[in-house]
Amino acid sequence: MNLQVVYCNHLTTDLALRERLAFSPQQLPDAYAALRAAFPRSEWVVLSTCNRVEVYRAQVDPEPSPSHQDVARFFADFHRVPLTEFFDDLLERTGPDVVRHLFQVASSLDSMVLGEPQIMAQVKDAYSLAQAHAASGPLTNELFQRAFNVAKRVRNETALAEGRVSIASVAVGDVGRRIFERFDDKTVLIIGAGEMATETLRYLKDDGASDILVCNRTLSRAVTLAGEWGGKVRPFDQLDRWLAEADVIVSTTGADPCLVSVERFRAVRSQSGKKPLLILDLGVPRDFAPAAGDLDDNVFLYSIDDLEATCDTNRKLRSKEVDKALVIIEQETEKFMAGLYHRATGPIVKRLREQWRLVVDQETARLFSRLPHLEQADRSEIERSIEQMVNKLLHPPLEALRDEAREGTPHGLMDALRRLFRLND
């Protein structure tokens, strides 16, 4: 059995190179076809996300198998990137390290955002694609199925995935959902049309927000954002009116001086009444005067720094769980490898037992034909004695094989058994 992964990720390689080595969904069929053609004895799974490009290989036969250089050359040929430009960044792991690495990846220990949940779906998709292109096989099947179970175990037994760690998710999930029970009856006002506005809007839409107003100085950008998220564009020069109408305000302009002063906001509140209002001021510098949040009990004003503090707290909480997760992964790796090694010895043990069984059957038949006067009870007793004798004789070599298999596939001992007992004959 031999396992290998050749990979680069956000820890080892910069984004520019990862982009050149990544496999788009459109490229994957060709990639799998090329891999199968070049190395037909191997099973393959390619995992390509924005943070990593990893090629997993498994093979039942120990030799011959593609080397690190062979897989790197495949990358070079497929993407037409000179090997010298990336070979040093392309890492290789083999044997138990592959299992450990995959378990860590699937459990999101290797992710840029520790504990993020998307990686599990990405690994599942990668494996499904490999299956669809007939590139995976029984070994990769077992490896990946186990990886999914391990990731689930890590998620259930540790707090690695708890607490949100991005500004937008904290803003909506940790703050918004603690003020409002639902968003589908709320009016959301987006001021500005930048990346942060888009990301926050994504979370709000996921939570059911449907009445979305977009206000931006540049009308064309407001139209684009509103079109993308099913919102309505509102003129920027009537901002006060929309501020009074909104239940949630996401402001991302970073205007200097600040867009909404305390006096301006006081006038807005007198117009809107004292309804609960969440202001997510994600602009740098801030769009709302900090004192605006103290005007009344129902205004909840959060700046990017407030949200970042929560992200940091959650990140620290997650980091504390890493050691627990690593212990689980270590246990699971050992268990998986032991099972794998043990199974490698299965065929030889079976053949050995069959051969001895054959000898026992032949010899007892011969004996009973010479002693026809034996009663059935005597025959059974003789058969039982011979059975026990065979088991006792086979026990030491099989025990030695089992012990060897705990450390790895016992190729030497298996070879010795084959030769000693002529199992290949």
């Binding site: 603690r178 409002f180 009990d297 407030d306």
Partner: protein
Amino acid sequence: MAHVSVFCFLASYIVAFGLELSRLLGRSRISRLVMVGFGLAGFVAHTWYLFNRNQQTHLPPLLSSTHDWMLVLAWVLVLFYLFLTLFQTFSKQELAVGVFALPVVLLLVASTYFLSQEPITDLAAEKARHGWGMFHASLLVFGMTAGAAGLVSGVMYLVQHRRLKTRHAEPTGLKMPSLARLAQTNRWSMIVTYFLLTLGFASGAYLGLQPADGESKVGLSDPAVMISIVVWLLFGGLFARLVSSRTPSGRQVAWLTIGGCGFLLVTLLGLQVVTGSIHGAAAGSAAPRVSTPAESAGVRS
């Protein structure tokens, strides 16, 4: 099980509360399961104790003694707490309801050490036959339960509001419902409490007007009745304020709920501890003798 005492379930609830508090330091599924286990164990013992009391007094706990009445109130609260906790455990929400609800339960159960275990009066026995006594006592218990729920949700609202206003991250073990949900609970608990107490006091007044033995009749001169009427009027004042405010803020509603429900609970609880009975003046006068467990097991002559 025959020897189940108040201390048995009080201790279980204390352990469950301790485990709720320990979850503020770090969450663990095992500690939650143990916590729920202690809560359930306490609840079973609590139920069994009330059943035993019923066997001893031959009266439903609501009509038997102040001690039993208070335990029924605590029992209903524990039932709510366990329902919410189990529901959240299965739905993986794990809100820290127990941190706020269990102290109220502990207070109610502990207060029963100071309350009389003697059956209230023959009033109970006589009026229970007609169902009015049971109706009166049930309305008061459910009204008080709604009040206790309002007190708990009001405190939760203020804690959550303060956390959100000061922009602190939510502690892992102190997850609470949204302000919108808590504000809604506060408002409804005020309405339900007032409605049930009004009906409860009205049915009490009807009972008071019914002809009965002179000694056991509960009248307006009973200090417990007088104080209850004052409490009801004050609570009504707060309720009117809540209803008349056009757009009260959630925080105002929370303070009103805490003020109203807290005052209601503390006064009625204090009243019972001081007088030793729900109907202080009538206590003890014509009370039937409490039978021993052995007697209860036998046939009544």
